[in-house]
C-alpha cells in the first residue's frame, strides 16, 4: 500500500524527510518497498493556457496551438491529441524540459510547422495508464480552469507528494490504512495523534422503511448499510483524485472515489450499490447456491462456488462479498440512490474466494488480514458524510444493521520482570507502560503486572509475546544489548554419521572429484534409472514442470545431467561426486523413506593432457581405484569384492560390477551404457553409486599400530597362462589361501592376452612377497612355499606356469 507523506503530515507534526520517515517505518513497523516522488526527474513542465487552435495544413489530426505559458509571448505547439481545444489549461513540456523516462523535449518542426514543446498526457509525465481518469486516457489532460499559466504543474497534480510503499506482513492488516499507520507513527515518534470523527448529516426517511438486510453472522460478523439519495455523479475534486491516483487507484466518479478514499483512510473496504437496481428491498448475505453466476465490475463472469459469500437481492447475487461488486448493481451514469455497505467478512472465506476467482483486490487483501472491527460504523458514516458534501446526496436516517458482533478488546496481563527477562533489557515500568499507551492501548499497573487492554484494530495481539514485540520494536531493536546464551553447558559434537559423511566428501575430493549438488526432483524416467532396489516412484501432486516432477531414486542420473550441461558448454573433462538422498517408496504408502547415497561420475579424463603427459581417458579401472580407495578410507570391516553385473539396463553389460562388502551389495560401478550416454548426449562416462547409509551402519576397522619387520622380505615372480575365463580374483584368492605362513602380499604386475599367447588364454604375472616378522627367512622355505602354490595353480586353475 502506498501511503502519502503529505497526508500523514496533516495529522502529525513530523520534521523528517520522506526517506527518513520510510526508514523509521521499516526499522519499527513494516517493510518499505520504496519511496517515490512523482515529480522526481521531471523538469520545466508547466501549466499552459490554449489561446487558440487551428488545424495543421498538412495533417488531418495535428493541431497548431498558441499556448500561454506565463511568458510575454505565447508558444506555438503542434499537438496531435484528439481532445485538445482552445480555452483549456493543459500540461506543457517546455523546450528543454524533461518528461517521463528521462526524455528531453526540444524545439522541433512537425510536418514543417515549428513546435516549441509539447502538450502532455498524464502518461507522458509518468502516470501509470491504470490511474489516469478514463476520460483522459486517450488524450491530453485538462487542468482545472483556475490554474495559472507558467506555474509548474506538479502541485496541481499532487506530484510533489512522496509516496511510501509499505510491504505489509500478513499480521499487520492495520497498516493498510492511513489511520492505522498514524497510530504506529504516533507511538514511534511519541506524539499524540487526533483522528477526525465523522459527523454525518441525516435527513429524509428512515432507512429501515426502504431496505432490510438478512445476514448470516458466521459469514459476516458485522454488516451495515446506509442509503444516500439524489446523489449527483461527477468527477471528484482534485484533492481527492490526487489521493487516489498517487495511491495507485483510478479516479472514477465522486461516489466510487469516496468509497476508495475511505478505505485508504480507515482501512475499511466499502461498496457502493445502485439501490434502484436491486430486485426488491431486501439484501441477503449468504453463501452462493449451486449454479449461481455473477458478472463482476471488471466485466468478468464467475461461476460461483458454494463456499463463496455473496451479497444477493431477492433474485440473484449482486456482489462477491469482500472481493468485488457485481456489474448489474454498480454505480453508473444515471445512478441517484446509493446503498453503501460497510461490513466485516470472515477472512478465510474471503481468502479462498479471492484465490478461487483469481481476484486479489484491495478489499479482499484487507478482509483476509482483518479490518478494524471497532471502526466499521465510522467508515460508513464518513462515506455518507462525504457523499452529502461532495455529491449533494441526502443521507437517509439511520443505518440498517444486519449483524454487529464487535469483538471485545483483548486484555493481556504481562509483568515487567517477564518483559526484561525475555528482551534482555532493563526497562522501567514507566517506559513499558508509556510505549503501550502510545500505541493506543489502555494500561493498568498493579505491582509488577501490567494489565493491557489492546485496541480492537490490532487484531494481531492476543498473548504476552505479542506485547513483547510491540515493546521491543517501539523501544528499538538497536537499543537491545547483544549477548550470548549463558546457563548450563552443552557439548557440540558431530555424530558418527555426520563425521563419516564429512570424511566421505574429503576422501572423494582428495581422489579428484568435485562436489556437485544436483536437483533431487527430476523427470519420471530419470528418477527410475540406475535403481539399486525395487521402489515405486514418488510424484509431486502439482509439479511446476515435468523436469522436476518426481523424487529421484538414484543420484547418478543427476550427475549425468550435470555432465551433459558441461558438455553442452564444451567442458568435456568432468569429474563429480554427489552426496545426497534418494527416495524409495513402498507400494501403498504415501511417504517415501530417505536413504543417503554417494555417487560419482567421470567423463573425459581426470588427468588432462599436459606438455609432459598424454591425456589418460578415464576407464573402469580408474573408477574402481577411486571406489576402492574411498572404501579403504572408510575402513569398512570386511572384504570388498567386485562381481560382474550384466543386468543393469543403464550400464554397459560387460563393464559393470556390483560392489560388495562382506558379501553384501552396497552399490555398483562401471561404464554407463552407450545408449544412455547417447540419450544424455555425453561421451563415455564411468559412474559409481553406493548406499552411504549402509557404509555408515557397517562396523569399521580402527587404526592400530603394526610393528614394521626388521627382517628382509623375499620376493618371487610368477607368470602363468590361464583360460580367459579365469579371473584375477580366483588366482589371487588361491595364492593367498595356499601361499603359506610367510606370504605377505600378492601383486599383479602384468596382464597379457595379445598375439604371443594361444587363443582363449591370457598371461597373468604376479609378485609374491614373503616375510617373517621374527627372523630372517631362509631361502629354502620360500622356495618350498612358492613351489607348493605353483603346483596348486596348475592343479586347481589349469594354469601353465611359464
Amino acid at each position: 500500500m502506498k501511503i502519502s507523506y503529505n497526508w500523514i503530515k496533516e495529522y502529525l507534526d513530523l520534521n523528517v524527510k520522506p526517506v527518513d520517515l520510510a526508514e523509521k517505518i521499516e526499522r519499527t513497523s513494516v517493510e518499505v518497498d520504496g519511496v517515490t516522488t512523482p515529480s522526481d526527474g521531471l523538469k520545466k513542465i508547466v501549466v499552459g493556457h490554449v489561446l487558440s487552435m487551428e488545424a495543421h495544413p498538412d495533417s488531418d489530426h495535428l493541431h497548431i496551438c498558441q499556448v500561454d505559458v506565463g511568458e510575454d509571448e505565447p508558444l506555438q505547439i503542434v499537438c496531435g491529441a484528439p481532445n485538445v481545444a482552445a480555452g483549456q489549461n493543459v500540461i506543457v513540456a517546455l523546450p528543454g524540459s524533461r518528461i517521463a523516462d528521462n526524455v528531453k523535449i526540444k524545439k522541433s518542426k512537425m510536418r514543417g510547422v515549428p513546435s516549441a514543446g509539447m502538450i502532455c498526457a498524464l502518461q507522458e509525465i509518468g502516470f501509470s495508464e491504470d490511474v489516469v481518469p478514463k476520460k483522459y486516457v486517450d488524450g491530453i489532460y485538462v487542468l482545472p480552469a483556475d490554474a495559472t499559466p507558467g506555474d509548474a504543474v506538479y502541485d496541481y497534480l499532487g506530484m510533489n507528494d512522496s509516496m511510501i510503499d509499505l510491504d505489509v506482513t500478513p499480521n499487520r492488516g492495520d497498516m493498510l490504512s492511513l489511520f492505522g499507520t498514524l497510530h504506529d507513527l504516533a507511538a514511534i515518534y511519541d506524539q499524540p495523534v487526533k483522528l477526525d470523527q465523522p459527523d454525518v448529516k441525516e435527513d429524509g426517511t428512515a432507512i429501515a422503511d426502504q431496505l432490510a438486510v438478512h445476514v448470516d453472522d458466521q459469514l459476516s460478523p458485522q454488516y451495515r448499510m446506509r442509503l444516500v439519495k439524489n446523489v449527483k455523479l461527477a468527477p471528484s475534486p482534485m484533492w481527492l483524485q490526487i489521493r487516489l491516483w498517487n495511491a495507485g487507484m483510478r479516479p472514477i466518479n465522486n461516489v466510487v472515489d469516496i468509497t476508495n478514499y475511505i478505505m485508504m483512510k480507515y482501512g475499511q473496504p466499502l461498496h457502493a450499490f445502485d439501490y434502484d437496481k436491486f430486485a426488491g428491498n431486501d439484501v441477503y448475505v449468504r453463501t452462493a447456491k449451486a449454479g449461481e453466476k455473477l458478472t463482476t465490475l471488471d466485466e468478468n463472469d464467475h461461476d460461483l462456488d458454494e463456499n463463496d459469500i455473496v451479497i444477493a437481492d431477492d433474485k440473484a447475487p449482486i456482489a462477491l462479498a469482500g472481493v468485488m461488486g457485481g456489474l448489474s448493481t454498480s454505480i453508473q451514469d444515471g445512478t441517484t440512490t446509493v446503498a453503501i455497505e460497510s461490513a466485516v467478512f470472515e477472512h478465510d472465506h474471503i481468502r479462498k474466494a479471492a484465490q478461487r476467482h483469481n481476484l486479489h483486490t484491495d478489499a479482499s487483501q484487507r478482509f483476509e488480514r482483518g479490518v478494524n472491527q471497532a471502526g466499521v460504523q465510522d467508515a460508513l458514516d464518513a462515506a455518507a458524510q462525504m457523499m452529502n458534501e461532495l455529491a449533494d446526496g441526502e443521507v437517509q436516517t439511520g443505518t440498517v444493521v444486519g449483524s454487529q458482533n464487535i469483538p471485545e478488546p483483548a486484555v493481556i496481563d504481562i509483568t515487567l520482570t517477564h518483559v526484561n527477562a525475555i528482551l534482555g533489557t532493563e526497562l522501567t515500568m514507566d517506559q513499558v507502560s508509556h510505549i503501550l499507551e502510545s500505541l493506543g492501548f489502555k494500561v493498568v499497573v498493579n505491582g509488577d503486572t501490567l494489565t493491557v487492554t489492546v485496541a480492537v484494530r490490532r487484531n494481531d495481539i492476543h498473548i504476552p509475546a505479542d506485547l513483547l514485540e510491540e515493546i521491543a520494536r517501539i523501544y528499538g531493536y538497536d537499543q537491545l544489548p547483544a549477548t550470548l546464551p549463558t546457563g548450563r553447558m552443552t557439548m557440540g559434537t558431530l555424530t558418527d554419521k555426520q563425521r563419516l559423511m564429512r570424511a566421505t566428501r574429503h576422501s572423494l575430493e582428495g581422489l579428484g572429484l568435485n562436489q556437485a549438488i544436483s536437483y533431487a526432483l527430476t523427470t519420471e524416467a530419470k528418477a527410475q534409472m540406475f535403481m539399486m532396489r525395487a521402489s515405486e516412484p514418488t510424484h509431486l501432486a502439482w509439479p511446476m514442470s515435468v523436469d522436476h516432477a518426481v523424487l529421484r531414486m538414484n543420484v547418478v542420473s543427476g550427475l549425468l545431467d550435470d555432465i551433459a550441461y558441461n558438455s553442452a558448454r564444451k567442458v568435456k573433462d568432468v569429474a563429480l561426486y554427489e552426496q545426497g538422498r534418494v527416495f524409495y517408496r513402498e507400494d501403498g504408502t504415501d511417504r517415501p523413506s530417505e536413504e543417503e547415497h554417494i555417487a560419482g561420475a567421470i567423463s573425459g579424463t581426470l588427468m588432462p593432457e599436459a606438455w609432459n603427459q598424454a591425456a589418460k581417458p578415464v576407464d573402469f579401472y580408474q573408477m574402481k581405484g577411486i571406489v576402492a580407495a574411498y572404501l579403504k578410507d572408510m575402513a569398512v570391516n570386511g572384504d570388498v569384492t567386485y562381481v560382474p553385473n550384466a543386468d543393469m539396463p543403464e550400464m554397459h553389460p560387460g563393464r559393470t560390477a556390483d560392489v560388495l562388502v562382506h558379501g553384501h551389495r552396497i552399490g555398483f560401478l562401471g561404464q554407463i551404457h552407450p545408449l544412455v550416454a547417447k540419450q544424455f548426449k555425453i561421451a563415455a562416462t564411468y559412474v559409481f553409486e553406493l548406499n552411504l547409509q549402509a557404509i555408515i551402519d557397517m562396523p569399521k576397522q580402527k587404526n592400530q599400530y603394526d610393528v614394521i619387520s626388521r627382517y628382509p622380505a623375499i620376493t618371487r615372480d610368477i607368470a602363468m597362462l590361464v583360460d580367459d575365463d579365469v579371473t584375477n580374483d580366483q588366482v589371487v584368492a588361491l595364492i593367498e589361501r595356499r601361499g603359506g605362513a610367510f606370504l605377505q602380499s600378492v601383486k599383479l604386475f602384468d596382464v597379457y592376452d595379445g598375439v604371443k599367447v594361444p587363443k582363449g588364454k591370457k598371461s597373468l604375472a604376479y609378485t609374491l612377497t614373503y616375510q617373517d616378522k621374527h627372523e630372517t627367512l631362509v631361502d629354502d622355505a620360500v622356495t618350498q612355499a612358492f613351489e607348493k602354490v605353483s603346483k596348486r595353480l596348475e592343479d586347481d586353475l589349469g594354469a601353465q606356469i611359464r
Binding site: E23, E26, R27, T28, E31, G34, T169, P170, D348, R351, I422, L423, G424, A465, L468, E469, R473, Y477, D478, L480, P481, A482, T483, L484, P485, G487, R488, M489, T490, G492, T493, Q498, R505, L508, E509, G510, L511, G512, N514, Q515, A516, I517, A520, L521, A541, W542, M544, H548, L551, N566, V571, L576, R581, F583, R591, L606, M607, A610, N612, Q613
Partner: protein, 348 residues
C-alpha cells in the same frame, strides 16, 4: 745424486704430473706410477738399506713426507676433477623451471557445502548439536507444529510441493525444531541445535529463485534465553561468515512460529554501508529471519512456555554465497558447471 736429492726431484716431477692429469683415470695412473709398489718412492725406500744407520731415519722421514705430500695432492686433484665432472653433469641436467607443473587431480567442496560447514563448525564450537531431518515431511511438522494451521494466510507465503494432502517436500528445515522439541529432555540440559539441509519451494527457476535451495535453522531453548542473546548470536554468525566489520541490525517482521519476529540485515558487502545499488541505498542487506520461539510452538511440542523459551533463526546458505561472492544466478549452484564449482578453492 743423493737419495735426498732424488726424492726432492721426485716430488717436483710428481706434483707436476698430478697437476697435468686431466681426468680421474689420469689421476689414478699417476697415483699408481708414483706411489705404487713399483713406483719410484718404493724404490728409493728400498735403497735405504744402503744408508748409514744415522742417515736412514732422516731419509725415511723425508720420504714419508714426500709420499704424504703427493697423496694429498692426488686427493685434492681427484676431488677437483670429480667436482668438475659433477658440475658438468648438473649443467647438463638443468631444466626450464618455468615450465608448468604436472597437473594433479584434485576435487573441491561445493561452495554451499563450504558455507554450511562453516556455519556448522561455528555453532558446534558454541555447544550446538547438528541435526538433519527428512526432506519429505508431514504437513504436521512442516506447518502445523510451526504454528501454521491449515488455512493460515502465511501458508501462501510459501508455495509448497505437496505429494499428498498430508505429505510434502519440506519448505524449511524448521520441522526439525518441532521433532527435536518433542523429544528433548530439558532436565538433561538446554536444547541448542542447528539443522542444515535442502528445502523446496514451488517456484519457477530463474536467476533469483530456485525450487531447491538450502537452509540452516537454529534453535536455542532454555530457562533464561533473551532476545539480546539472539542479537548477539546473529552478530557472531555475521562476523564468522563475513568478517568483523559487518554489523547486524534487526527489523520487525512476521513469522507465525516466532513472536517477536525480526528480519536481520547486515552491512552491505558492496559499499560497506555507504549505500549503493545492491542495497538500494540503505547500506544494509537482508540476510535472515529470526525471532523468539512462539509459545504455541513450544506448547504443541509439549514444552511448557511459562518455564522455557528461546530463539530461532533461519539462514539461507545460497543467499549468503550469492552475496559473499557476487554470484548473480542461483541456478549456478545446481547446474554444476565445473568452471563454476572450481572457483571457490581458496583456503588460505
Amino acid at each position: 745424486m743423493s737419495l735426498k736429492d732424488k726424492l726432492s726431484e721426485l716430488r717436483q716431477r710428481g706434483l707436476a704430473d698430478i697437476k697435468k692429469s686431466s681426468d680421474l683415470k689420469d689421476v689414478n695412473q699417476v697415483r699408481v706410477q708414483l706411489l705404487g709398489k713399483k713406483g719410484p718412492i718404493t724404490e728409493v725406500l728400498r735403497g735405504m738399506r744402503d744408508l748409514d744407520a744415522e742417515e736412514r731415519p732422516k731419509v725415511g722421514a723425508f720420504a714419508n713426507e714426500i709420499r704424504d705430500d703427493l697423496t694429498a695432492a692426488l686427493t685434492q686433484r681427484k676431488e677437483e676433477l670429480e667436482q668438475a665432472v659433477l658440475n658438468a653433469q648438473l649443467a647438463k641436467e638443468t631444466i626450464d623451471v618455468t615450465l608448468p607443473g604436472t597437473p594433479v587431480a584434485k576435487g573441491e567442496p561445493h561452495v554451499i557445502q563450504q558455507i554450511v560447514d562453516q556455519i556448522e563448525d561455528l555453532f558446534l564450537g558454541m555447544g550446538y548439536q547438528v541435526l538433519s531431518g527428512p526432506e519429505v515431511e508431514e504437513d504436521k511438522y512442516n506447518f502445523e507444529m510451526m504454528n501454521l494451521p491449515k488455512n493460515h494466510p502465511a501458508r501462501d507465503m510459501q508455495d509448497t510441493f505437496y505429494i499428498t494432502k498430508e505429505i510434502l517436500m519440506r519448505t524449511q528445515t524448521s520441522p526439525m525444531q518441532a521433532r527435536t522439541l518433542e523429544k528433548h529432555d530439558f532436565s538433561k540440559g538446554p536444547l541448542k541445535m542447528i539443522s542444515p539441509g535442502v528445502v523446496y519451494r514451488r517456484d519457477t527457476d530463474d536467476p533469483t529463485h530456485s525450487h531447491q535451495f538450502h537452509q540452516v535453522e537454529g534453535l536455542v531453548i532454555d530457562k533464561h534465553i533473551t532476545m539480546a542473546d539472539l542479537k548477539g548470536t546473529l552478530q557472531v554468525l555475521a562476523h564468522e561468515l563475513f568478517g568483523d566489520k559487518f554489523d547486524v541490525r534487526l527489523r520487525p517482521s512476521y513469522f507465525p512460529f516466532t513472536e517477536p519476529s525480526v528480519e536481520a540485515d547486515i552491512t552491505c558487502f558492496n559499499c560497506g554501508g555507504k549505500g549503493c545499488k545492491v542495497c538500494k541505498n540503505t547500506g544494509w542487506i537482508e540476510v535472515l529471519g529470526a525471532g523468539m520461539v512462539h509459545p504455541n510452538v513450544l506448547k504443541m511440542a509439549g514444552v511448557d512456555p511459562d518455564v522455557y523459551g528461546g530463539f530461532a533463526f533461519g539462514v539461507g546458505p545460497d543467499r549468503f554465497a550469492m552475496l559473499k561472492y557476487g554470484v548473480d544466478d542461483i541456478r549456478n549452484f545446481y547446474l554444476n558447471d565445473v568452471r563454476f564449482l572450481t572457483q571457490f578453492t581458496k583456503k588460505g
